[in-house]
Symmetry: C2
Subunit: 377 residues, 2 copies
């Protein structure tokens, strides 16, 4: 059964697409980048800065939030938006990916995944139905089905088993979602590792089941970029063209640019804030490691032409000092600068697709990254 379509495709340019996704908490312009507010907070960044930087939507992690402070508690407090003060659209993942990567003693069965909390060791069961229930309690605008993600490289048999289980969980997720109708959305997740035939079978079956949108999961988990892009190329055409396509957990600015060129609409990644905490800035001339001594005496900002004030106004010497000194302000400034750069890139792509100049934008943007940072002074 088909679900209502909240996505409006505004323009395409070759495979690249720009559109609008309307959620209960507002409109998301696509291609969209979702910064990760993992445990109900953006690490080192105020919500108003997330918004001012151009973010329409953020991601919350079901695994973290269900363990602490708890989904029922957040529901009693009015949902994630009210709880956190982020008043815009929010997508929540299913919890499955973190269960696989963070918890001890996980046990997978047909019914559910059982694991011990990394916080207090409590035994928790997460089924497709419970994941939907938790995401509903959180007040998510876009919920994700529970799936099983296999780290690559892996054997075909393992990849196929996880892909088939994910499809059965997709059906159960949809049934659970439909049992309590709302204005929110549910996305299915394509699995299939690095095997094109499995990817395509997964995508076609999900399209048959019918979701508000479709994610490609299980990529950027250890495989080369070329494999990831090839999987996107072979999967995207099997997904309904009128629905949003979300590439989970990706990635670098280059990953995103190339994925948009292959028809992806949505992304999420911890990279802007994580790299910011490690002293790395994303700029139009590539990544810059502020820890490097070349910046110690440099009065120039990261980017004189950046639209983001902190990228224009703070000297590299100051950012270097903050990073070297372990001052929180260094992580704070670089995290917001990085989110702003990602959103500036997304806006550039949206504009270019809208005017049919995406290929020029892509060439110009790649040339900037390849040029590299300005010479030391």
């Amino acid at each position: 059964m088909s679900l209502p379509n909240h996505f409006e495709l505004l323009a395409t340019d070759a495979q690249a697409r720009t559109g609008r996704l309307t959620t209960p908490h507002g409109v998301v312009r696509s291609p969209a980048f979702m910064p990760c507010g993992t445990a109900g907070a953006m690490k080192g960044v105020h919500w108003r800065e997330v918004r001012d930087a151009g973010s329409d939507i953020v991601l919350g992690n079901t695994y973290h939030l269900m363990l602490r402070p708890g989904a029922e508690r957040i529901a009693a407090l009015g949902g994630l938006q009210r709880f956190t003060g982020w008043n815009g659209p929010m997508l929540t993942d299913s919890g499955g990916f973190q269960v696989m990567s963070l918890s001890d003693l996980r046990k997978l069965s047909e019914n559910a995944v059982t694991f011990r909390s990394h916080i207090d060791g409590a035994k928790v069961e997460l089924s497709p139905e419970r994941s939907i229930e938790v995401q509903r309690l959180l007040g998510s605008d876009i919920a994700m089905q529970l799936d099983e993600c296999v780290r690559l490289p892996a054997e075909r048999a393992d990849i196929e088993r996880a892909m088939q289980l994910s499809l059965r969980w997709a059906e159960r997720s949809k049934r659970a979602f439909e049992a309590a109708p709302s204005g929110t959305m549910l996305f299915g997740i394509v699995q299939g590792g690095d095997l094109p035939d499995l990817r395509q079978a997964s995508a076609r079956r999900l399209a048959d089941i019918g979701f508000h949108g479709y994610a490609i999961g299980g990529l950027a988990v250890g495989e080369p970029q070329a494999v990831m892009l090839s999987m996107i190329e072979q999967t995207a055409p099997c997904l309904p063209s009128d629905r949003p396509r979300y590439l989970m957990g990706v990635g670098t600015p280059e990953d995103i640019l190339e994925a948009v060129a292959r028809g992806i609409d949505m992304f999420d990644c911890v990279m802007p804030t994580r790299n910011g905490r490690h002293g790395v800035a994303f700029t139009r001339f590539g990544q810059i490691n502020l820890r490097n001594a070349r910046h110690a005496d440099d009065p120039r900002p990261l980017g004189e032409e950046s639209p983001w004030p902190a990228a224009r106004s703070y000297a590299r010497a100051y950012l270097h000092h903050l990073v070297k000194s372990g001052e929180t302000l260094g992580a704070m400034l670089l995290s917001e600068i990085n989110i702003a750069y990602y959103q500036q890139l997304m806006q550039g792509m949206r504009d270019a697709i809208g005017t049919g100049t995406f290929e020029e934008f892509r060439t110009r943007t790649r040339a900037g990254w390849a040029r590299g940072d300005i010479d030391p002074r």
Copy 2:
């Protein structure tokens, strides 16, 4: 020789005073609280928030800055204001206090204190003259003389020796300061531990030497509050009434209120940001530990009537969650909330002194703190 007076006393109310101190980077309203931007950054707080919270002036630590990134480097980059982006008045300490508390292998002589850097083990000599030079390189609006501070309790002989050395260093500091005239200021520092006669002798001698302002040092270093207040009572009358009086390293809101009642004009303390990082909020109803489980389900803000947005808009439940989860945003929000509360207290005192109602303000404020936090919900 007398130094020019940049302090204007606007009103007094019993011993309490309100005034204006004009520095090269702007006017400081007194009583003034100076948040501590230790190593060129306010821990977890953006400079614009420091300013918006009502801070006219901040403190920078000479010890930290001379070791990293280095005074000569900051001078080459245009001074602390330009380097950090904090464009208002800045007071720097002399470096002496941190030498005593943070560095290994310090050796005190008549000429200077020699120590090993806690960062790289380098051997560094800090004389009164070098301290003035460093503070000038930093571009400080208010420089402090190098002094020796004795932790209490201590023997009379030790207290007296340190007090006399500090006086000799005061003279040398002034000579060094006057050798290169500028629009900036130099404050002398009263020592004398918990011994009234030594405190008074120190204050009178400093007044004879003549400074732009006078600090009371060596308090809040282990003695009971009553001893600290008694020392202020017995020292303040020995200081020139037309010059600003600065109580170093103090303190809790109650310490500050009581010190203002005894004629103090300026304060600095790491408490708002340090306690914020530890999950403690300062409010008109006293200190609130957000780590406490009583807040876990409480949708109410810290203070519905607070003039500071973050104190009004975030639920206690959210702040509790951030603190428990170790999210940087918790420390960021509580630090700015605490600076704002301190500045709100200072503004309340300034207004009350100006209208001759300080005693009522003091009684009302103490009653609020004594009342304690609202009941759990």
